[in-house]
Amino acid sequence: MKKWAKNNIGFFFIIPWLIGFLVFKLYPFGSSLYYSFTDYNLFKGIKETGIMNYIEIFTKRQNREALMITFKYAFMTVPLKLVAALFIAYILNFKLKGVNLFRTVYYIPSILGGSVAISVLWRALFKDDGLIQQMIRMLGGNPPSFMTDPNWALFIICLLRVWQFGSTMVIFLAALKGVPEDLYEAAAIDGAKKWKQFFKITVPLITPVIFYNLITQMVQAFQEFNGPFIITNGGPRGKTTLMSILIYNNAFKAYDMGMASAMAWVLFVILMIFTAISFISQKYWVYYSDEG
């Protein structure tokens, strides 16, 4: 008994985590899969089971639109954010005067994260007669209505996330610091210009970090909620209604937990597919130094 306890003492230490995992992860995960095949309504219970929710997700106009908008949002936000973060990290990697101050300043938006206050501020900036419109008018321009033009509305929501590139930037910065100086020196001696050094040395050597940032940012983008919920509440006319908002509306406004669960599972599968594709594709473009 003593020996058994000694050998398995580790399990006792992970019991709190295990309980948390079972109760707050595995159980909701399993139950939501079950509910996704039912018409479970919070106040009416389950009356029907089947794949009707999944059929409705792909046949109802509103759901298909939300799926498309989610893709649009993710495919705009992720590349823009990665490019912005890498660009700024590259600049901040130079030995400039006051570079630490700039690093801090660029990181501040990320500290604010997905906070409600920032979303409210964003709304105030971009509303009709808001600061951005006033500035454009002062410069003699004719600003669009950011909140009611569907394309602009989605863009300003993307912009909020792109603006918060600090964390991604810091990870890029760490990767850039890991690129050996002698490679640049050798390239410079061979006459390679800065941009060539960047694309031929820097980018290949930091591809594992680009890959990591791509995966994490993609997951975040597909799960985005706060920004569109607070800034536009899915409007105008549902044109910024991402899947996450539709899940929320179905679950907590229509109390249709069956549909909300099915949507969550569709989103999960979509993310899994994209992640799998990314992992499969990495052998073509990600360079790991230990692979030789």
Binding site: L42, F43, A124, K127, T148, N249, F252, K253, A254
Partner: protein
């Protein structure tokens, strides 16, 4: 010196004991348990302030009953409470909407039948017809109505003065005001601002007045697609005549509600169609120096002088079946709605009270808010119909509901009124299925 110390200590002990026994006696007289109950309501700042004061007074009157309060704005309030009702974690005492009885208490399991605590809540203070509106599917008394209400126009008189015209008393005058506002004050100024649900209500007034029938009755929609299209055309004509801003314009303002919209606060939107009980928050929201006055219900929607106005239970109080202290919860409700002290503090923050006792107290003290009293008097005098609770069903009124879809779609030019009418009728029929 020693003797004086002993005497004072003794005296203090006697006083403490007698205070304790007095409290016990009081508690025994009132025959209640020392406990903590929760009370949840939504509203604006002035309602919160008055209700908190009333709750404090209740706790002072009944020592030992501690009331924890949970209050906030309407936005997303319903969703949060719905989850509590479903999970059995709701507050003991809840401010509820009439439609909640249908939506959340369809099997009469969420709200306590108040007949069970009728010895504490004096139900005789309400007209039976009003109590009946809050019955559940089993015939139980799911709640008590705090007030009756209906919609009426409120005008920012200051803006109308700036435009050099009187506040409108008829549809014809309102249409004329649209022109004057645009010419004299500019494109940003509108005599009336209506969100999607407000549009539905004004359209209902128009249709009910013109066709002489309720929009929903006997478990069905009473209007044909063509009649609904007539109503939608009427609403869109107001937009075309610069009487109301488009939904696109209101969306562009990016305000959570009309009372938080800077254009309303500054008088650019010079009118609203609101519940008589909600006037206070709009008055409070206006810039200093601006005057909001109660308008008239229009009688020129059709040729028959009808108003088409409907009234409803504005809101009620209910006790959750999960409450461990239904008796003390009932005491709180009775205090807030029937007790002279409680009713006086609550005032007209939830409209003109339906409880006869509360009304008498406020009337005698001259503390019926004059604006609310005027609005309420006009609404009740003009009301021709009672609202069918499903008119405000979440599927219709909610943020993803039919009203928002139809009126927003029309305003954004996504479809015409014929298609809008078909969508509206489909959506309204669906709530009866």
């Amino acid at each position: 010196m020693k003797m004086r110390k002993i005497l004072s200590l003794g005296l203090a002990a006697v006083m403490t004991l007698s205070l304790g026994s007095a409290l016990t006696v009081q508690a025994e007289q009132a025959d209640y348990e020392e406990c903590t109950i929760k009370f949840a309501w939504w509203g604006g700042d002035s309602r919160h302030e008055a209700t908190q004061k009333a709750v404090d007074a209740f706790m002072a009157k009944y020592p030992g009953i501690n009331v924890e309060v949970n209050f906030g704005a309407w936005s997303d309030w319903e969703a949060a409470r719905a989850l509590e009702f479903q999970s059995g974690t709701a507050a003991d005492v809840n401010q509820i909407n009439l439609s909640w009885i249908n939506e959340f208490d369809s099997d009469a399991s969420v709200f306590l039948d108040l007949n069970e605590v009728a010895d504490i809540i004096d139900l005789s203070q309400w007209e039976q017809v009003n109590l009946d509106m809050m019955k559940d599917s089993n015939g139980g008394q799911a709640g008590v109505p705090v007030a009756m209400t209906g919609r009426i126009f409120y005008w920012d008189k200051t803006t109308f003065d700036e435009a050099g015209i009187a506040v409108p008393t008829s549809l014809a005058e309102l249409r004329e005001a649209g022109k004057v506002f645009q010419e004299k004050l500019g494109d940003d100024y509108y005599p009336l601002a209506l969100g999607e649900f407000d549009r539905m209500i004004l359209m209902t007034f128009y249709l009910q007045a013109k066709y002489g029938k309720a929009i929903m009755a006997d478990g069905a929609v009473q209007f044909t697609e063509e009649e609904l299209q007539d109503g939608l055309n009427f609403i869109m004509s107001l937009e075309a005549d610069h009487v109301i801003p488009s939904i696109v314009t209101i969306d562009g303002d990016a305000a959570a509600s009309i009372d938080q919209n800077p254009k309303f606060i500054s008088g650019k939107y010079a009118g609203i169609l609101e519940w008589d009980s909600a006037a206070k928050k709009y008055i409070d929201a206006l810039e200093e120096g601006r005057e909001l006055v109660v308008g008239e219900e229009f009688t020129d929607f059709g040729d028959n002088g009808a108003t088409g106005v409907f009234s409803k239970v504005s809101l009620g109080f209910a006790i959750s079946t999960t409450s461990e202290h239904p008796k003390e919860s009932a005491m709180l409700i009775n205090y807030l709605l029937n007790d002279p002290e409680g009713a006086a503090i609550m005032g007209t923050e939830r409209g003109i009270p339906e409880s006869k006792a509360a009304y008498a107290v406020l009337d005698e003290a001259g503390s019926l808010d004059p604006v609310i009293a005027e609005a309420h008097g006009k609404v009740m005098a003009a009301a021709e119909y009672a609202e069918e609770p499903r008119f405000e069903s979440n599927d219709l009124k909610g943020s993803e509901g039919t009203y928002k879809y139809v009126f927003g779609g029309l305003s954004y030019g996504e479809f015409d009124t014929a298609e809008g009418a078909a969508e509206l009728l489909d959506g309204m029929n669906a709530v009866f299925e």
